[in-house]
């Protein structure tokens, strides 16, 4: 995982609620056996029509919008546990997703790939959407050291939740798996101590 401290860029807005992982990356694109290249099919069926033509008014096709931050409506990433959704967003070039609510599994998957889920209040989310609607090059600044997100234009800022453990992982580029491999001795001790119990 790459180290990450600050994301400061314009944002791409998708003002729809309950965006599920089947929209982020449809199942028919899950057939790869490696982790790269999923960005090409990010939001495939919203981005392209049945004939493969770009859908003009979809945000990813709109030249007005760019940047490393995706802003989306409430309950982002619900549905399937496919980590391919986080891979696709990251592979496309986003480093953070801002929403007023995230589905659990998506949030965990994002964090395991260095993609930051930034949960803001519904009010702040609407303020961000409004600011981008008024000026598509509006920038956002996400600071992982402070766990804060700022709309530099107005100076409005909010604190977001992130466990201290995950904060350290992101800033230093550590994986959970590195941690777990280091405590294998303790895991083995746990196994032998409970070996005979039925209530596992």
């Amino acid at each position: 995982m790459k180290k990450l401290q600050i994301v400061h860029s314009p944002a791409v807005p998708i003002n729809i609620q309950d965006i599920d992982t089947d929209q982020i990356i449809p199942a028919r694109f899950l057939k790869a056996t490696d982790r790269v290249g999923f960005g090409d099919n990010l939001f495939r069926d919203w981005r392209y029509d049945g004939q493969g033509r770009a859908v003009e008014n979809f945000a990813l096709n709109d030249p007005d919008y760019s940047g490393e931050i995706l802003v989306a409506g409430r309950n982002f990433g619900c549905g399937s546990s496919r980590e391919h959704a986080a891979w696709a967003i990251y592979d496309y070039g986003f480093k953070a997703v801002v929403s007023s609510f995230f589905a659990d599994i998506f949030k965990g998957n994002a964090l395991n790939n260095g993609l930051v889920p930034v949960q803001v209040s519904e009010g702040f989310l609407q303020e961000i959407f409004a600011a981008i609607a008024a000026n598509p090059s509006t920038e956002l600044r996400i600071d992982l050291r402070e766990k804060s997100i700022t709309l530099p234009l107005t100076g409005t800022a909010e604190h977001f939740e992130l466990s201290d453990y995950k904060q350290e992982c992101l800033i230093n580029g550590y994986d959970d798996i590195d941690y777990l491999l280091n405590v294998r001795g303790e895991i083995e001790a746990f196994e032998s101590q409970r070996a005979s119990s039925f209530v596992a």
């Binding site: 056996t33 659990d104 196994e191 119990s197 209530v199």
Partner: protein, 466 residues
């Protein structure tokens, strides 16, 4: 001792260690894997040069990509074929038991775990698939994980998990005629909403759930993820023990007696509290249908779609959903012509589901214009259906029983619903394009799917039940 919830009892027994201001290291008893979400995890182990830590606690099967006709032939789609072949190679290399295509134990991963007795009360079970929640029906902590986590469990048999909040959903009373476990859970989702359970682990309690068979309980727990919850569970009881006794991987003899004794302790203690609680009345529940593009957009079959309240944050989302479904606000779905029916998936692909479908179609005929996918969840379900003569009931009514797999649940294999077509489906997700680009999914129970299949329209199954 302080009063504990069922969830807490199992969770606490699996914590290897806790990290201050961080997650717990949680021990995982059983890990189920399939072809779609495992290749990158195996590749990760290979890159690190480490083995699978506890290969005997992993079971693998191929389900998502498999065709449901002519499974003896090579898979036609090149990418699907490669993915299934990669699973075979990986299992071989890493010493993992594989019940792949053609194996008598093959089937949808969440169907085979329970039917073989691998799923047992008190366990922690994970799989790279969000419907792992199904196994909660046995009083297990079971939840879906991403591929990075699949790799973690392969490498260490553990996960880093923050303990979720607790929710209890109580439904009291008896379900009416024609109202099934599927209707019960679709109703709960329509009330609690698709994000109402996010951050929580659910316990289902009350006489409506107690009265369900294990198959019905699995249907309920399966859709916990559609509430946004990581998982859902039902305390084990006599129904659970009767289901498990004698299954291939269940404890036997002396061990069985001890196991049942231990499992009987797995209940929420009196006085234990939940972070959130809901109460519903079973008498309020009708056979359900969904009208939109999330499982929370469901209603009783005699109800009408909601009106759009301009100005609400959700108005745009609802309007987009109805437009996708080609439905109007305040419209009844009764009588809506449909061309496709799908019975199967980890939600409703068990023997009871096929029986329920057959009960309605027995002595009737499939409507001419309807295309139906009737797909058993596993080889064992297929064998049982044939043993009971359900294949003949189906054939007589104009239906074909296919071979096991995920089929039209997710449009990853050959079974897809064409653009613009309605499909009354017993699966769990009606997202845009879930059953194929442009497909319009109406989620319902197997009995409601049968009513649609024989009438060619959305029909209240109770009308056929005289």
């Amino acid at each position: 001792m302080p009063a504990k919830t069922l969830f807490d009892k199992i969770w606490d027994a699996h914590v290897v260690k806790s990290i201050a201001h961080g997650p717990d290291v949680l021990y995982i008893d059983r890990h189920l894997i399939h072809e779609v979400t495992s290749p990158q995890a195996f590749a990760g182990l290979e890159k690190r040069g480490i083995p699978v830590f506890r290969p005997r606690q992993i079971v693998a099967t191929a389900d998502h990509n498999v065709p449901t006709l002519h499974q003896e032939l090579p898979i036609r789609d090149r990418l699907s074929r490669t993915q299934v072949a990669t699973l075979v190679e990986n299992c071989d290399k890493f010493g993992v038991e594989l019940w792949g295509l053609g194996h008598p134990k093959q089937g949808i991963v969440h169907i085979i775990g329970p039917e073989l007795g691998i799923t047992q009360p008190g366990m922690t079970i994970v799989c790279g698939d969000s419907h792992t929640a199904t196994h909660g029906a046995f009083g297990t902590i079971a939840f879906g994980i991403g591929t990075s986590e699949v790799e973690m469990v392969m490498a260490t048999q553990c996960l880093m998990q923050a303990k979720p909040k607790s929710m209890r959903i109580n439904v009291e009373g008896e379900l009416g005629a024609g109202v099934t476990a599927k209707d019960l859970i679709l109703y709960v989702i329509s009330q609690v909403t698709v994000s109402g359970g996010t951050g929580y682990f659910v316990e289902y309690a009350g006489s409506a759930f107690r009265g369900l068979s294990m198959e019905g309980r699995m249907t309920v727990c399966n859709m916990s993820i559609e509430l946004g919850a990581r998982g859902g569970m039902i305390a084990p009881d006599q129904t659970t023990f009767e289901y498990l006794e004698g299954r291939e991987f269940a404890p036997q003899g002396q061990n069985w007696t001890q196991a049942v004794e231990a499992w009987s302790q797995l209940v929420t203690d009196e006085g234990a509290t939940f972070d959130k609680e809901f109460h519903f009345d079973a008498a309020d529940i009708e056979p359900m249908v969904t009208f939109g593009t999330t499982p929370g957009m469901g209603m009783g079959v005699t109800a009408r779609t909601p009106g759009i309240k301009v100005g609400e944050a959700s108005a745009k989302t609802l309007a987009k959903s109805l437009e996708y479904m080609a439905l109007a606000p305040e419209q009844s779905l009764l009588g809506l012509p449909i061309n496709y029916v799908f019975v199967g998936s980890c939600t409703n692909g068990r023997i009871e589901d096929l029986r329920a479908f057959c009960e309605v179609v027995d002595g009737r005929q499939k409507a001419d214009h309807v295309n139906a996918y009737i797909v058993p969840g596993s080889q064992a379900v297929l064998r049982q259906a044939e043993a009971e003569g359900l294949d003949r009931v189906l054939a007589k009514a104009g239906f074909e029983l296919r071979q096991p797999g995920c089929s039209a649940c997710l449009a990853m294999n050959d079974d897809k619903i064409p653009p613009g077509e309605y499909c009354v489906s017993t699966s769990n997700r009606n997202f845009e394009g879930r059953q194929g680009p442009g497909a319009r999914t109406i989620l319902a129970s197997p009995a409601m799917a049968a009513a649609a299949a024989v009438t060619g329209r959305v029909t209240d199954v109770r009308e056929l039940m005289v």
